[in-house]
Amino acid sequence: MAAVMDRDYYDVETGVLDRTIYADEDIYREELAKIFGRAWNFMCHESQVPEPGDFFLNWIGEDQVIVVRGRDRVIRVLLNTCPHRGNTVCRAELGNTQRFLCSYHGWNFHLDGTLAGMPGEEVFYRGNLDKSAWGLKQAAQVDSYHGFVFATLDPTAPPLPDYLGWVGRLGLDFMASQGELEFLDGVQKNRIRCNWKIAVDNLFDWYHVKVSHGSVLQVGLFDEASLAPMEQMVLLGEFGHGIGGPGISEEKFDEAVARVRGGPGAREWYDRTVRDRMQPEATELLGPVGRRSFGHPNIFPNLWVSTSPQVCLRIPRGPGETELWWFSFQPKEASDNHKRRNVYMANHWFGPGGILEQDDSENWSHATRGARGRFSRTLPSNLTMGKGADRVAEDPSGQARIETVVNEHGQRWTYRSWQEWMRAESWQELMANHSMPPTGTV
């Protein structure tokens, strides 16, 4: 097949991007194989499937999977397609079951995916079907970090902790630093007519905040200092993980707590999050640099971690459509008041009804539309903000970071890594050829 990656779609030297990658059907097909088919994809939190038989449906690219806890309490990820003729074997998006029964001809499967039986095993198949060879296909690897379950379809993918690296792990450490988390029942899902990468690159984008979300400043849900702070910190990790957003300097911690104003929930949340980070335990878990970052982590390719505490998946639905899935949590040990605040934020900030998020989607869908026109798609997208103007600061702890103003380092790193993933024919090749996070001038 003619190589889809026949040229540089992202120009590392100039920081400009070919918009074709938001619209092209062949590139999209290739992403399903080379990115989603290879990456560790977020599945759910362990507390979503606490008991044997509990299941939850999710996606790896366009392949639907069942995340299920077995009788042995092990969490497995099974492809939701019947080995007989392809039908979906689990049609409820969550629940508890003894077995998965295919509604087409009745093949049925144990919680570990093995084929338990089918109608006519003796009479029709004459006892000739090797049941051990016809179970549900399992994800190649499943593992979890701080209770967040990930799966990969690629047996050659590196183990999850290595895949995440220190930046990906730090992203989830932000969650763990709030105490043991439990899932709040109800994933908010909605569909946006945008390319998934636009929804991903936006999570690093602290440039759009004052404009896109100008209205929430006007009505006082947030004040400018907390919604769009000047001081920014960026941490970049192997394989495309990154964290970008506010970074508070040591001397300004107290000031940062004091200056926050805003509507119900916002001040208290910010106050608590910053104060927590001043505690010695936070330094232990997050490191001397990490504890000062209040940015948005992206676990490559598509998991946004928000300290709210929530995580959001950007699930591809074709080159021009993306589903956003918001998973919300609360610290198990928190006070009732604290828990109420958590729910309040989850219900009012993000999600399709969220006052912050509802203004994002139209911009994203029109940015995608801008990649479809025969001529508009030939115009490059500009990702040059701050390029060549900043330095990576090393730290004895190993937590290298860029401390600067609003920038597009995170976005550039995302597309650069995306291109490397798309070029590599295998994990082995990606391991050999991927860029290490930059040092020196960036």
Binding site: E93, Q188, V219
Partner: protein, 178 residues
């Protein structure tokens, strides 16, 4: 006539419908401040998250009050939503959406017409049709369960539960009021 309460019920049904149709018109004509005036101080405006479950576990279909929801608003939050739209930087509604609300199957579920200060629980079905710009089109159907309270001889909306016929919301946002 064998049914002495029939006339009262008819009048109540009429009054309730008048209120709901008027409210829909207020929203369709983007008179949002006027809409806020139709709400009680203690309003709760709620749309749960809906899931596909097996028939056996259908009690898990909707998230519960107090938990995760698409809307879970008190008056202050609804005022914030309206103020946003009025201040001119709420891009989801500027240019403004075109909306049309069809309210049908109105049934008084409980409550009576006579006593002042009484609450009436009303179920209705709705279709909210929205278009934006040149090509955005959304159509939401669902059921509402409202509590209307008699205040100064008229109704005010004291509670609204909205049950949408979607699990994944098939639109880019929910920037309309239901």
């Amino acid at each position: 006539m064998g049914d002495p309460g029939a006339l009262e019920r008819l009048l109540l049904q009429h009054a309730v419908q008048e209120f709901l149709f008027m409210e829909a018109d207020v929203l369709d004509s983007r008179r949002y401040e006027e809409w806020l005036g139709l709400l009680t101080e203690d309003i709760h405006y709620w749309m749960p998250v809906r899931r596909t479950t097996t028939a056996r576990e259908v009690d898990r279909e909707f998230t519960k009050p107090g938990g995760i929801a698409f809307f879970d608003d008190d008056l202050a939050m609804l005022k914030m939503r309206v103020n946003r739209m009025l201040l001119g930087r709420a891009w989801a509604e500027d240019p403004p959406s075109r909306t049309r609300r069809l309210i049908t199957n109105v049934r008084v579920v409980s409550g009576s017409a006579e006593s002042e200060g009484d609450e009436v629980t009303v179920a209705s079905n709705f279709q909210l049709y929205r278009t934006r710009l040149d090509s955005e089109e959304d159509s939401w159907l669902g059921r509402r369960e409202d509590v209307l309270r008699r205040v100064d001889g008229g109704f005010r909306l004291a509670r609204r539960h909205i049950y949408l016929e979607q699990t994944v919301i098939l639109s880019q946002n929910l920037s309309s009021l239901f």
